[in-house]
């Protein structure tokens, strides 16, 4: 279990996911925009450390740090001539894409389905949004698990890309994955419906949500980032 100190309200995490991507894609090349990007790109690894994903945080820093540094530095020094545009462009793309992907990963591993439901219901989102959102979060790990099982089964049978060719390989890889995921979906559906999901009353959820110190800090950092971007 994650230390309580680092736990965020699911809504804080979702807001962070959204704002981070807006900043990464809309911030231009001014000094203020650069600082804003720096602030936002520094938040996910802190969260990862809080979740004890040291390795993931290190890999992220090792990729994004140099990419961002190279982007800002090369645009100012212009040392490579023509190739510079391509290199800086690629570095910029990496430095803008990776934080979003990493943050999405953090969101999936850190938000509990129960907290997501509680959080979204608390801000009066309709069932229409809450139930699919919960199912999506619940099913991402399921698909990964099923996918791994299918890959292992293919290895066991000797169904390699080289043996069967790309089209057949795709079919063997995808069809059992889709089938078993759908079967899990049906079972989930039955188990949920027979436990009263869909009853038209307001459910009280026991999952703990609400502002805690970590939320205040994170929201503060986000506000600072946005502020610098607008001012600078």
């Amino acid at each position: 279990m994650a230390p309580e100190l680092f736990r965020l309200d699911p809504r804080t995490t979702l807001l962070l996911v959204a704002l981070l991507n807006v900043v990464m894609f809309s911030a231009g090349f001014t000094a203020g925009a650069g600082t804003a990007r720096l602030i936002f790109m520094a938040i996910p690894p802190v969260l990862a450390v809080g979740l004890r994903r040291w390795k993931a945080a290190l890999v992220y820093l090792a990729l994004v740090g140099p990419a961002f540094a190279f982007e800002s530095w090369s645009l100012d020094t212009w040392w490579l001539g023509g190739a510079n545009i391509v290199a800086a462009g690629l570095a910029s793309l990496a430095a803008r894409l990776a934080p979003g992907i990493f943050m999405a990963y953090i969101a999936v591993i850190s938000i509990r389905v129960s907290e997501l439901m509680a959080g979204l219901e608390a801000i009066h989102l309709p069932r229409l949004a809450v139930i699919p959102a919960a199912v999506i979060l619940r099913f991402l790990p399921t698909v990964r698990e099923e996918s791994r099982s299918v890959q292992i089964a293919m290895n066991a049978r000797g169904l390699s890309l080289a043996r069967v060719g790309p089209l057949a390989w795709l079919e063997y890889r995808l069809i059992p994955l889709i089938m078993s995921t759908l079967r899990c979906g049906e079972e989930l559906s039955q188990a949920a419906l027979t436990r009263g999901l869909g009853r038209p009353v307001k459910a009280n959820r026991i999952a703990r949500i609400g502002m805690r110190p970590a939320d205040v800090l994170t929201l503060g950092a986000m506000a600072a980032g946005i502020g610098v971007w607008i001012v600078g």
């Binding site: 591993i109 049978r157 000797g158 009263g196």
Partner: protein, 474 residues
């Protein structure tokens, strides 16, 4: 609860799953539904919990009343029925156990204090204290099933409907499930349970209903049922209700064996979404083993003793560095095992890839290495496994027992020397279990060596030449 002249057929089905059934249950009664696969017992549990007609469409006639309510006339959530299903993996809506146990009670719209009180009560009654704040992804199958039971119990339904709840559990977990169900019975709830494994329900049953082809074939009081011997049960198409003990046997000296030496596997538990600290790996010491060639060897032991891990290692699907495997003369590397050992993994649904039974066998023949010349044709293989009648069907439309036999057919076609199967009889009725046992014997007759990891004592009795136990005196 009562049924009057109830018939039901699923939307795409040609014949009725249940035909003109009359039945009434007294409040507080514990009723076991027995019978072969496809006999209608699962359909009956779905009539009780309202999944028919709310989830499964079809034609329903006759009258069903559950606590005086007609399930088809009111929404699913109004029924006072709690359901536990076969597959522990897929029954969870949330990802942490505390919320999962609370889920049903939350949906009732109770206030927070009452929900927490009910969760505490269910946790205490079911002995789940140590499972209270865990990720459901880090639980074993038995633990998941107990949490599912707690979640249902927290709703406090008047009727519990269970559909083969023990199909994926080992003996110990089945014993724990029995205790839970005994508690429900003692609390005065009505319990309806469809099962193949009758042993753990023997002493709880007030009534046992035996189904065949959608009809009630026989009905026993609890006492009358307990007096039936294995022979009588088998004649009804039922699995034994009496446990057998399994003693490990060691192959006689001088027999040609595959040998495993000094194996230690590092168990990696799946990471836990929502609960972030990855569970720590667990060391499983398997040690030295001998597997006689051309024979069927059963690998037994409680869940968690490493049966599945060992099966995957034998098939070259894991890369644990400690441990060696040899055929008596030469050592087989991981890559060699992957080519020369055929593994049928626990969930057979992942392992069938093509669109027809015959094509699945043909694919296995095409993939067989040219050195191991296939002995049989597609037709011969299907014939010998009794799946010729479904040659053109899609593998995923088969019954679990037929799927298992098809997977065994693929193993036979592969011509590999060693065949490893993980729990091939999980959830099978008597006839399908014997079908699997015969198929395994046939593999051995064709010269292949068979290792079957199982906790099914009847399967072991029906097919094993040799038993290896992975349970260790601790």
């Amino acid at each position: 609860m009562s049924l009057n002249g109830v018939s039901f057929s699923y939307a795409a089905a040609e014949r009725d799953s249940l035909t003109r059934l009359d039945l009434s249950l007294r409040p507080g009664e514990f009723v076991v539904l027995a019978g072969p696969s496809g006999s209608g017992k699962t359909t009956l549990t779905r009539l009780v919990n309202g999944l028919i007609p709310h989830y499964y469409a079809g034609s329903l006639s006759g009258q069903v009343l559950v606590n005086g309510i007609d399930p088809s006339a009111c929404p699913l959530w109004r029924l006072p029925v709690g359901s536990v299903f076969q597959n522990p993996r897929a029954q969870f809506f949330t990802t942490d156990t505390a919320s999962e146990i609370a889920f049903g009670a939350e949906n009732l719209g109770l206030d927070r204090a009452e929900i927490l009180r009910r969760v505490d009560e269910a946790v205490a009654a079911l002995g789940l204290a140590e499972l209270r704040d865990r990720s459901v992804f880090a639980l074993s199958g038995g633990e998941k099933q107990r949490v599912a039971c707690a979640s249902v119990a927290a709703v406090k339904p008047a009727i519990f409907a269970l559909d083969e709840p023990s199909a994926n559990l080992d003996l110990k977990s089945t014993g724990q499930l029995r205790e839970i169900m005994a508690g429900w019975k003692a609390s005065g709830a009505t319990v309806v349970v469809a099962e193949h494994r009758l042993g753990f329900l023997r002493d709880l049953a007030d009534r046992v209903l035996v189904f065949a082809d959608g009809q009630l074939q026989a009905e026993y009081s609890g006492a009358a049922f307990r007096s039936l011997g294995d022979g009588q049960l088998h004649r009804l198409g039922l699995r034994s209700a009496w446990g057998k003990t399994m003693a490990a046997t060691s192959p006689p000296d001088g027999v040609d064996c595959f040998e495993v030496e000094g194996l230690v596997c590092q168990q990696r538990r799946s990471q836990a979404p929502g609960l972030s600290a990855p569970a720590r790996g667990q060391r499983i010491e398997i040690g030295d083993l001998r597997i006689p060639k051309g024979k069927v060897t059963a690998l037994v032991g409680a869940n968690g003793c490493g049966k599945s891990t060992f099966a995957a290692w034998l098939g070259g699907l894991r890369r644990d560095r400690e441990g060696r495997f040899s055929d008596g003369q030469r050592e087989w590397s991981t890559a060699q095992r992957r080519r020369r050992v055929f593994v049928v993994l626990q969930d057979v649904n992942h392992q069938l890839f093509t669109e027809a039974v015959a094509e699945e066998i043909a694919l296995a023949l095409r993939l067989a290495s040219p050195t191991s010349q296939p002995l049989l044709s597609v037709d011969q293989i299907m014939e010998s496994l009794d799946i010729s009648s479904v040659a053109d069907r899609h593998p995923m439309s088969l019954s679990t027992g037929q799927k298992q036999r098809l997977a065994i057919g693929a193993a036979l076609a592969s011509g590999r020397e060693l065949i490893v199967l993980d729990e091939p009889s999980a959830g099978l009725d008597l006839n399908h279990m014997f079908g699997v046992a015969n198929a395994l014997r046939m593999l051995a007759r064709s010269g292949q060596t068979v290792v079957v990891a199982t906790h099914d004592t009847e399967l072991v009795a029906a097919c094993a030449d040799n038993i290896i136990s992975l349970d260790r005196p601790r």
